[in-house]
Structure formats: C-alpha cells, structure tokens
Amino acid sequence: MNPAMSFLDSIFVNLKLWTLNLIGHFLPGWAVILASIVISGVVILCLGPVIMMYLTLLERKVVGRMQNRYGPNRVGPWGLLQPIADGIKMFTKEDIVPTNADKVIHLLAPIVIVVPALMVFLVVPFGRDMTAADLSIGVLYFIAVSSVTTLPIFMGSWASRNKYSMIGGMRTAAQMISYEVPMTLAVVPVIMMSQSLSTASIVNAQEGLRWFVFTPWGLAGFVIFFICTVAECNRPPFDLPEAESELVAGFHTEYSGMKFALFYMAEYMNAFTLSAIAVTLFLGGWQGPFLPSWVWFFTKTFALIFAMIWFRATFPRFRVDQLMGIAWKLLLPLTLVNMLVAGLWYFIPGITGWVGAAVILAVSFLGLTALNKPVIPEKRVYLLEN
C-alpha cells in the first residue's frame, strides 16, 4: 500500500489521535480518555441522523427512478436540501396526542426507540481501526441491542390506545421474535469460522478477498441474514407492523410531527446499521483492494441499502401468517442445515467440500420449498371462450 493510500486509509483515525494529542497538552489524563469517548460518541450521534436524512432522500430518488419519475428535485440542487425541508416541516407540525393516550409512555416511546438504533453504531467497524468500541462480544451485543427495539414499539402502540396501533404492535412483536431466531443462527457459521464474537476480528478473518460470502455457507448465510435484517427493520416486503394499506400506519398511527420523525429516524438508522453488520459479517467489512477501507465499507453498506430500497420498489407485502411461515418453516431449517454445511466445508477442504456444501444447500432449499405447500404458486388454467 503506497503512502498516500495509507494516509487516506487512516485519515479519520489520525485526525482523532491528533485532536487527542492536542487536548493532552492542556488537560490531565482523565480528560483525554473522556475526550476520546466524547469524540467517538459525538461522531456517532451526528452520523446517525445525517445518514438517516440522506437515506430518506436516496430512497425517494431511487424508488422514483424505478417508477420512471424523478423523485424530489425541487429543494436545492438535485433535491439535496429536501431532507432539511422535511425536518423543518416535521418540527413545525402540530404535536397531537390522543385524549385517552397514556401520555408519558406515548412521549417516551419515540425517544426510547432511537437509543438501541444508535447503540448498534458502537460496534460497527467503519474502517481499519475505526470501531468505536471493539467489544469482545460485538456480534452478541448487536443482537441483544437490536432485540430491545421491540419494547419501544410496544410502548408506542399500547400508549396510543388505537386498535390499528395495537394490531401493529402485536405484529411487530411476533415478527421480531420470529426473525431474530434465524438471524442469530445465520450468524453462527461466521462465528464458527472466525472463532471470535468481536466484529473487528471477524473482519480481520476475511482478509483480502476471502469474504465469507464467497463460500457456499457464507452465501446462504448472507441471504438468510439479509432477509432477516429486512424483516427486523420492518422494511418491505416485511413491513407488516406499519402496513399502510391495512393498518393505516401501524404502531405510529397516532404520532405526528417530531415524534413521528423519531420513529422514522430509528427505522432508517436500523436499516443502515443492519446493512453495516451484514457487510461486516459476510461481505468482508472494510476489506477490499485499492480503495481506502472506509470507502469500501460505505460502498458495500450502501449497496445493501440500495437492495433494500429495490425490494421496496418491487414487492408486495407478505401476509402475517406467511411471514411467520417463512421464518419458521423455511429460514430456520435452512440455517440449521447451513451450520452443518459450514462444518462440512471446514473439515473437507478443497473442491469436494465446496461442491458438497453447495449441493446440500441447494437440495435442502429445493426440498424445503417443495414441502412448504402454501408457499408454492399454483398452476392456473384460463379458458378463452367465445
């Protein structure tokens, strides 16, 4: 790696070190440690909302293009100021609280929901040495924190005293609990192979182009994990908790103004962090040739986010029983098979293990879809009469 590259590669790390050194000249040691935490924290706290703002713009633009229209292009060049205009609009909207609502919890829910969304940023390795906190239990931490997201959704749906919200809340709980199981199990082969729970060392285990996604179990695991992440952050085709056509807006039906914006912020930040985790676990994180590490990381993450937006532009929504069926009857058995396949791949090196693993996965996928009778589209015949 040439010097210019390595300078670019570690530009943010060096920037932070330089700032800390500067502070070290004036302040005692404990303040430097504190400053180190504060700098990382502030960067993450700013990164989250900014990413969310521009994700909304990106989403609207991409969906617009897929639907043969422009998307927002009025505020600023290419509509770049649109998120700011939206933000101002959200701030100035009237804040409506239903009469019978549980006022305190109604207020707390949108605030609480942002917390786990922001907390996941802590373990995301944005680049070489760019993890805010390289916890030894990184992956487990991420799974644990994202499982908390259910609670604020419950709070919001219950406190609104609205039947649509209630049904939306129920759906969320069922969906999140169900999809957490295959999601966790899909990560297991990665942990088995990298022999660590720390996100940084998982990325290090995928040195060069040995990304896990290039192995049969990695590909299967990635697809399952990605489907589960889409379900976890309630994005189409799994957006049942806020299914517009049935439940108006699901659990945030009764929210307006900034509270509503906070729900959206959490949703988009979740979309970002979950994509980032998927990149870390399967797509080699910041690993990649030629470009600086953080460029690779953001490219891959935005590619996954683009895929999420693409799903949104293409698919109708599942029904609630089908959603559960897919999690329990299709994804869960596949992850179990995938764990065994990963072991096989590990103990039989070379082409034999590779092909064997791929064949087992393909056969089990075909078998499972064939066994899941209600999932398969039927053959239909249409008569053309005179």
Binding site: V63, M66, Q67, N68, R69, K163, Y164, I167, R171, P236, P237, D239, L240, A243, E244, S245, E246, L247, V248, R312, A313, T314, F315, P316, R317, F318, R319, V320, D321, Q322, P374, V375, I376, P377, E378, R380, V381, Y382, L383, L384, E385, N386
Partner: protein, 378 residues
C-alpha cells in the same frame, strides 16, 4: 354479521374507513376480528351519496350525460355508452356506422384504462409501493391523452351524444390510437413479468377470497368477477349490443374465483380489448359521426321529448353489467332514471368472501372487486 360474534370475549371490532388509505374512497367496513382473522364484516355505504338519480330526473336527457361521467369516474366513456344506448332505445334513434366504431374504440380504451388502474391499485393494496401502479398510470396517461384529444377532457369525457359522438376522429387521432394500442401488449408482458409469477403476489392472491359459482350467480355478480368464478357471461357476447358481434375476441374465464383469478382475468381482458381496438381501427368506415337528425335536439335539449315508455340499456362495463333504466312520460325530463351499478352489486358478497380470511386479505379482496364509490353510492 350477527351480534353474537360481537359479544364473544376474544373478538375485537375494528373500523375500516370512512377515512382509511385503502377503502378506495369514503367507504366503511366494520370488521370483527379474532386475532388477525375476520369473523364478521359489515359494509356501511352511502358516504358519497350525491343524489345522482334524482338530479337526473330534474334535467333534460342530454344534460344527464355530464352526470353519468361522474358515476364511475375512472371510466366515463363506458358510462356514456350505457346511457346513450338506453336513451337511443327509448327515442328510437339510429347510430351511424362510423359512430358505432368510434364508440367501440373509446369504450375498449376505457376498459383498458380501468383494468390498468385496478391492477395498479390492487397491488398497492397488497403493499407494493406504487411501482405497478405508476407503470399502469404511465400507460393510462397515453390513453387519457387520446381522450383529451378526442373529447376535450381526460377523465370527464362527456363524449357520447344521442345518435353518435361529439367529435369525429381525424386520421391523425386514429394513427395515435393505433400507436398507443400497439405498445400495450409489450407493456402487459413487462407488467406480467413484474407481477404474474411473483411468489409473494401468488401467495397473497391464490386461494384468497374465493367466490363459488353458485353464490356468484345468485348474488347477481357480473363482470370480470363473475368470469373469474368460471361463468361465461359477457354482455358484449350475450347482448351483442352496438357492433360487438363484428369483432373476434374471446372471453377469458377463471376457475377458482379467487383474487388471483380476478387479477389475471383482467390482464387477459386487456389483451382482448387491444385486439378489439385494432380490429375496429382497421375496419372503421367513412361517414358521419352523428346522426344528423339528432343534431337540432342536442342544440336545443328541450326538444328531446321521447314518447312515453320505458327502456333499459345495458353494457358490459369493466366492472360488470352497467344498466340504465329510463321511463319517459313525454316531457323533456326523464320521469324515472335508475342506474344498475355493478360496483354496488358486486360489493354485496364482500362479507361472504372475507369471513375466515385475515385482515390483510379483506383489503385485497375489496381491491379485487373493483369498486368506485362514485358508482356505488351514486
């Protein structure tokens, strides 16, 4: 919906509408749920009642045309057609050859517009984020441009007149129609690639909201909904009104009568409509576009006084049998004017189709019936 269901401890009554994103207007459903499953469902209609029939009885016969546009506002050409047929039958007016061809072209274009929108919004009800809908609107836009070019208005066409149509079609316009229609098969192929085999759509639509044959017949269901249930009944074929007997087209029939069949029958009907329009453009004769004898009557509507009597004119509108019943007492105003609205009658089986399904299905089933509240409530 019996009250006993309401009193069961596990049920939850929920109100869809009148303000709800997917009730297609101001329509209300009271659904009783057990978990997510629908146990009972009751329609509450009439929020958009505009006194259509009474207004018409206070107007002259030609003056009613503008109001028929507003019945099924996505589909005004067909509404005009039905009313024109009824009034012509009542007054014994003949229609010139060329006008008949123009009428058929416009009616079939309107059918395509209607089915395109239906499929688009059905997919919105299924939860697709406007993509199929906007593709449909993209093609509909070209047809609406033709409507504007020909009649003066995109949606409220008010194009038909007793004994013909308002304006003639120029060669240019015919060429334009040919161009638009020739695009449609390719577009429908793209549309189908996006939808017809999509597993999610199939899962959501197949075996959902099935309508058995006997129930469909007994409830007076007509249109694509009836044909999706497998009954070959198309008024274009049975009545052969206007000049439909001259065109070669088929009536697609479904077998199960579920939402998927209703969706797919409509796709096939659009393909048949394209064929009809192509044949009509090829065969359109020269001649007058309006019966010259009725022109003075239209210039002075009070002279239009059909002899006392009654007439019923019906057409195969995209939604079903659209019938107009007129009673004249010899004055310039209809003594009785009644519309047999397919949207309303097809809606009556909603509860039978929904009970036992999930909430999400109820929305989709409602979407697949294809109602327009302007016509349902009148």
């Amino acid at each position: 919906m019996s009250e006993t269901i309401l009193n069961e401890p596990q049920t939850l009554e929920i109100n869809f509408g009148p303000q709800h994103p997917s009730t297609h207007g101001v329509f209300r459903m009271r659904a009783v749920l057990d978990g997510e499953t629908i146990r009972g469902l009751k329609l509450v209609i009439g929020y958009l009642h505009r006194n259509h029939e009474q207004i018409a009885e206070n107007l002259t016969y030609p003056g009613v045309f503008a109001y028929t546009d507003r019945l099924d506002y996505l589909n005004s050409m067909q509404n005009n057609f039905g009313y024109a047929l009824a009034a012509e039958k009542l007054a014994g007016i003949t229609v010139p050859e060329r006008a008949e061809y123009i009428r058929v072209i416009m009616a079939e274009l309107a059918r395509i517009v209607n089915h395109l929108l239906l499929v688009g919004f059905l997919l919105n009800d299924l939860g697709a984020f406007f993509t199929p809908c906007l593709y449909a609107v993209r093609e509909r836009e070209r047809i609406l441009d033709i409507f504007e070019d020909v009649s003066g208005s995109r949606m409220m066409c008010n194009y038909f007149r007793f004994g013909g149509v308002k304006n003639d079609l120029t060669e240019n316009q015919l060429g334009e129609i040919r161009k638009v229609v020739s695009r449609l098969p390719a577009f429908l192929d793209e549309f189908e690639a996006l939808l017809s085999k999509n597993e999610i759509l199939c899962m959501r639509c197949q075996n959902v909201g099935g309508l058995p044959k006997d129930l469909a017949v007994n409830a007076g269901i007509t249109g694509p909904m009836l044909r999706a249930s497998g009954i070959n009944y198309d008024i274009r074929k049975t009545d052969r009104y206007s000049i439909y007997d001259r065109f070669d087209f088929k009536v697609p029939l479904g077998q199960k009568g579920d939402v998927y069949d209703r969706y797919y029958v409509r796709i096939l009907e659009m393909r048949e409509s394209v064929k009809i329009v192509e044949q009509a453009i090829a065969g359109i004769p020269r001649g007058e576009f309006l019966n010259a004898k009725t022109l003075p009557l239209l210039r002075n509507p009070r002279l239009f006084k059909p002899a006392a009597g009654e007439a019923y004119g019906r057409i195969e509108s995209p939604k079903g049998e659209l019938g107009y019943y007129l009673v004249s007492d010899g004055t310039p105003q209809p003594w009785r004017y009644h519309v047999r609205a397919p949207s309303l009658i097809n809606l009556t089986v909603l509860e039978e189709m929904c009970v036992g399904q999930k909430i999400a299905d109820a929305i989709v089933i409602l979407g697949s019936i294809d109602i327009v509240l302007g016509e349902t409530d009148r």
